[in-house]
Symmetry: C2
Subunit: 475 residues, 2 copies
């Protein structure tokens, strides 16, 4: 297949009404309630055996979707009935002129049985008119700005710039929550499950064109047959970074993926080299995704070769330097200009090494000088293209409350220095390492503040290196 | 050097009295106060200009160590005077018959100046009699059980089984705190700095013989000249796992280490292969250390080849499987015996794959059955040596409070199942993955409980793989 007609999903931002088919008393109308907190449009409950929901008397209940008056169109329908009743629900959606139906129900091709496969094939024949289907066996659509989600735990953020398209709802949840825990918000996510209609290509195309979305994450188990080249082309044409987590790198994963969403996986290595050639970023783990999105949303696209490492803990700086160099990154010696300034800044400090890595040593208690160190590197090294990025290690134990008062307000002082530097040099990349070693009062306070000014925080050198390595392939 | 006389440190557990030379009003007697919370013996303040500490009137203050009455021996002295006064302090220690002096003062050979090097050489000539010195430029001794530490933040645990010997105080702090944040306690730690007397060999020998210590961590910048073979022999003879983080793997790291503690580093690759042959575990990062210690203290020495992966989130399980297999580990198909039992356990579950990886799917809400899955693998697979370890992934989002009540108490039920399993099969290895994705109320509650019953928790598959890989070399 060399041509593919992308399904139109451009109506999604205009969804004005929702119906849930299958919301039940047994589950306390869970799939209805999750829309109530933010969704401003009309919400309907479709249930053949109840007349009213006691504590939600204002939610109209109809036996069938088609019983809703004709002058009340329904844009989005969430279907969570048993699989035998899904086809009738789809027929009703077609009759009602619904734009998008999300089929949460599973046990179609994913079940791996003849009956499941047969039902899925039959389901496909019932998709008519302008109706688009997400699923079956998919969580559906997460569009927090207007209040559409599939779990009550999913954050109702109002602004997000990461789009997700995933063939596993569980993994999609993990990515959304993992990003949110790192102060990164999602614009829209599609959990497409068996993808009988809206598939990876359509979702990716939508996110590519979506003005809210700046970075795209795709979890892929398999593509629709024969669409490999179209997918690659789409990645190639996409101006936004496309991060890809692909199941089936190995036989065991491929086999597991088949039973998971009945997806066919081709040869991973062929696929991987094509993706790389198209400028896609192939990643291996959940944390890889989170760490890379953090970099791209806060720093942007940037290839890293030359690093300047500034550390509060000399020994830790040595270890980080070893790991960076051992993985192919350089810590170039700083220029004489820089050195001269450092000779001045470090004039009262003994036993510190400050020619990359820079051991801040006792200057950790002098945030002004720490700021000078960083801005000197920005002015005299990054500006000339000699250094691509600063890694600033901030061991939280030095910021935590101590018996002596020396450390008090140190956290704020360091943050303010970094804020000034970011304002002065908005386009000069700096990331931090703040170890996850139990100083939660420091970390919980400082990390979101740093993220808010576009300084990503990592917990150790290894995730930094994995991120830098994956960035090498960026367009 | 083929022979080496290890310095006797066996008196350490018998330390009964402490003096601080250099505790000052300026620092609010910080280095005195840190002993007061737990140390039960006598504590002295040595300060030539004060008579008494206002809020600590019961602490005797002397102008000089030698002014302390002869019938009051001093076992341990912490020295934090300027470098020019260190030698006098050492002389006083010798005169007083002190057993161990910790020289916190820096700017000796670590300063890299002629004067620093000269002073260090001179210092060495003043170490006489039975006096042992830690440092200079070292944090000294952490022995929390009796209340000896160098920072007020260092936890005063009463029981610990990890011994640390480190050439960087900063890194030593990070390791202690990192372990503590993972519910692992340290027995004794030595931050030896420039190591003019007590060195890596002596510290390692002490920890090797220390009955409290079960696992040893060494951070090494360089060894005393000519002692390479002795160090290797020591690692070889040590029945306890020896984890080594070595600075100077690359030229940049080696150069930085020289300025840090004036240590000479030999050829890393020769060193590395010797360590491996001796059964030492070479690691690369701080998190590697923490993750490995967690494994060794909770699971013990265990080579991992064959893994059974049980996951609550199908897609995540697929990705973990890919990563494991891609890194050389096997997920063998389970036997017919096991399969038959699983057919029964999963009889009501559709669309789940349960032949390794095992997708728990909807059984996540049925902890009893989840327990049966795990114990079946232990009984029929691990017992026969077909599987070495179970990795059980518990996505915290399914345990967090939800709108519906279904999840309530699920965390406790799952924990109780795992506790029963650990009691029934204490020697059958199981580890968990609980993602760090923001469900702190779940993670902060569950993770320490799992650690307390010997089930280590990791945040993603990558740290698990790094740990398994490093375990391949274990004796």
């Amino acid at each position: 297949m060399d041509e593919y007609t992308f399904k139109d999903l451009s109506f999604i931002p205009e969804i004005k009404s929702i119906a849930v088919i299958g919301a039940s008393r047994k589950r306390d109308f869970y799939f209805l309630r999750i829309y109530l907190e933010r969704f401003k449009g009309r919400i309907y409950c479709i249930n053949p055996i109840i007349k009213k929901i006691e504590d939600l008397p204002y939610i109209p209940v109809y036996k069938s979707l088609t019983d809703i008056p004709d002058d009340e169109p329904v844009d989005f329908v969430f279907i969570t009935v048993t699989r035998e009743r899904v086809i009738q629900a789809i027929d009703d959606c077609v009759a009602k002129g619904v734009k998008l139906a999300s089929v949460f129900t599973s046990d179609f091709a994913d079940e791996g049985t003849e009956e499941g496969i047969r039902l899925q094939k039959e389901l496909i024949t019932h998709i008519k008119g302008d109706l688009r289907i997400i699923g079956p066996n998919g969580m559906g659509l997460y569009f927090p700005k207007i209040g559409i989600r599939w779990r009550s735990s999913l954050p109702l953020v109002t602004k997000g710039n990461v789009g997700i398209i995933a063939q596993s709802g569980g993994l999609c949840n993990l990515i959304i929550h993992g990003l949110y825990a790192n102060d990164i918000n999602v614009s829209k996510a599609f959990s497409i499950g068996n993808a009988v209609d809206v598939n990876l290509l359509d979702g990716l195309k939508f996110l590519k064109d979506d003005p809210e979305t700046k970075v795209i994450v795709a979890y892929i188990e398999g593509l629709p047959e024969g669409t490999g080249k179209i997918f690659i082309k789409l990645v190639q044409e996409c101006q936004k970074p496309v991060l890809i987590l692909k199941a089936g790198k190995t036989d065991v994963g491929a086999k597991a993926a088949i039973s998971h969403t009945a997806s066919l996986i081709g040869d991973y290595s062929i696929w991987a080299s094509a993706i790389k050639q198209a400028g896609g970023i192939l990643l291996d783990t959940l944390n890889d995704i989170i760490n890379m999105v953090k970099f791209l949303t806060m720093i942007g696209k940037k290839k890293i070769d030359n690093v300047c490492l500034i550390s509060l803990s000399g020994g830790y700086g040595v270890i980080c330097s070893d790991n960076l160099v051992d993985n192919g990154f350089n810590l170039p010696l700083l220029q004489n200009d820089t050195k001269t300034r450092f000779d001045d800044i470090f004039s009262d400090v003994h036993g510190s090494s400050y020619n990359n890595p820079i051991d801040v040593a006792i200057l950790l208690y002098d945030p002004k000088k720490m700021g000078e160190i960083i801005s000197t590197v920005m002015k005299f090294e990054i500006d000339k293209g000699l250094i691509d990025i600063i890694i600033f290690e901030i061991a939280p134990l030095y910021l935590a409350y101590q018996l002596t008062t020396r450390s008090k307000n140190l956290t704020d002082s360091i943050f303010n220095e970094l804020k000034n530097i970011k304002e002065q040099f908005p386009n000069k990349p700096i990331i931090t390492i703040i170890q996850d070693i139990g100083f939660n009062e420091v970390n919980n306070y400082l990390i979101p503040k740093l993220h808010s000014i576009g300084i990503p925080v990592y917990a150790d050198i290894n995730p930094v290196i994995r991120t830098f390595k994956a960035l090498k392939n960026i367009k």
